[in-house]
Symmetry: C2
Subunit: 218 residues, 2 copies
Amino acid sequence: MVRGRLADIKPAAVAEEPGAGVVERLFLAAEALVAEHGFEAVSSRDITARAGANLAAINYYFGSKNLLMFAIFKARAAELNRDRAALLRQAVARDPGDARGILRALIEPPTLWVSDERKMALRFLNRARGEGPREIREVIETDVRHLRRFADALATALPHFPREDIMWRLHFALGVLHHNSAADYARLALLSEGLCTPDDREALLQRLLVFIAAGFGV
Amino acid sequence: MVRGRLADIKPAAVAEEPGAGVVERLFLAAEALVAEHGFEAVSSRDITARAGANLAAINYYFGSKNLLMFAIFKARAAELNRDRAALLRQAVARDPGDARGILRALIEPPTLWVSDERKMALRFLNRARGEGPREIREVIETDVRHLRRFADALATALPHFPREDIMWRLHFALGVLHHNSAADYARLALLSEGLCTPDDREALLQRLLVFIAAGFGV
DNA sequence: AATTACGTCAAACATTTGTTTTAATCGATT
DNA sequence: AATCGATTAAAACAAATGTTTGACGTAATT
């Protein structure tokens, strides 16, 4: 009786082919369902039905429903952080004093993730922040290593800023970025009478960069 | 057999005295519990236990648990909107071209709501945005009348801005404001190594105003 | 005093949830 | 071919959920 083989799972190896393994299908089904309907609205039965798997599959392969969610979160958060870290490295290597480049490294990945799978990943991560299981939210709250890289880079680029200022503004900038769910865009589209849509991602990236960089005075 | 007396309820009349009526106690208990633990973590039994009421009281007085949540949401959202609208009126009457004053009207109420009851109300509203029942989220998405007042005022104050720009920046500004849960502050405190805490509300208001006004170029 | 409406209470209801169990099935290796 | 481990399948499980019921008491009204 083998159970809870979480250690064996390679979360990055997620294929989209319909004939993919059960583990991948569960991963993608859970991610898409949560992205669309939220954590609480998605049951184990919904996930296994969409994945074409048996109800027991989640517990067999992941140990529990929450561990499945945690695996998805870890995989997607790692992808996002990796993209951001790479851009941050490039920006700092190019010019350590270019605060705008550093901010762009923070903004660009979530803004330009536009493939279907990536969109789902982003919406999953966005939801996880507020609705996700306690284990996930704790990681988000307590693991600040990724953000500290940006804080340090910004402190170097803006030596005249007190560190407290850097932190607060970084906090505000993250607020802008997290406020990017489909629901938020729906309200914006309604408010602007269809004038503002998130379709043109390059334009959105520019708007975000201009707004946030202005907040940093650069 | 009388049931679902929602129409009779005056949500604004919320007293804090321990001897208050069952309706008020249910209202405050549900609000506080949701503020602290989130919508999904709070059951009807939790609420009635905290309110010192019978399990059936929620359905008797409000018709259902969701209608109770909706009543709380309506009451608190109305309070917040009323405060903001009053400040907006004053700001525009003082100087229709003062964009910063308009933005302050948007920022000040949620930032200076510091009494225990008000803090609970804010955390409830913040949670409602993402985790709340569908009915609440639909109202948030579709009822943009309140925001449109600010958009119009900003458009008047900043005539050289294309309306699209106003809308996007207002959208970004709301992102900053919504990003104000206890969890977010916990992460900020950790990230800044205790440097940044939301205790000094006047200072926080100033920081928010500076950041957002800069985003509007004013 | 009788009646009526209102409020409270404990109990039960029907669902749905995540998880576990037990058996059957498949596939490769011996 | 036989065996053994890994996977799938169906069923059952216990716990928790929101809601409803019907009885009981009480206070006001007729």
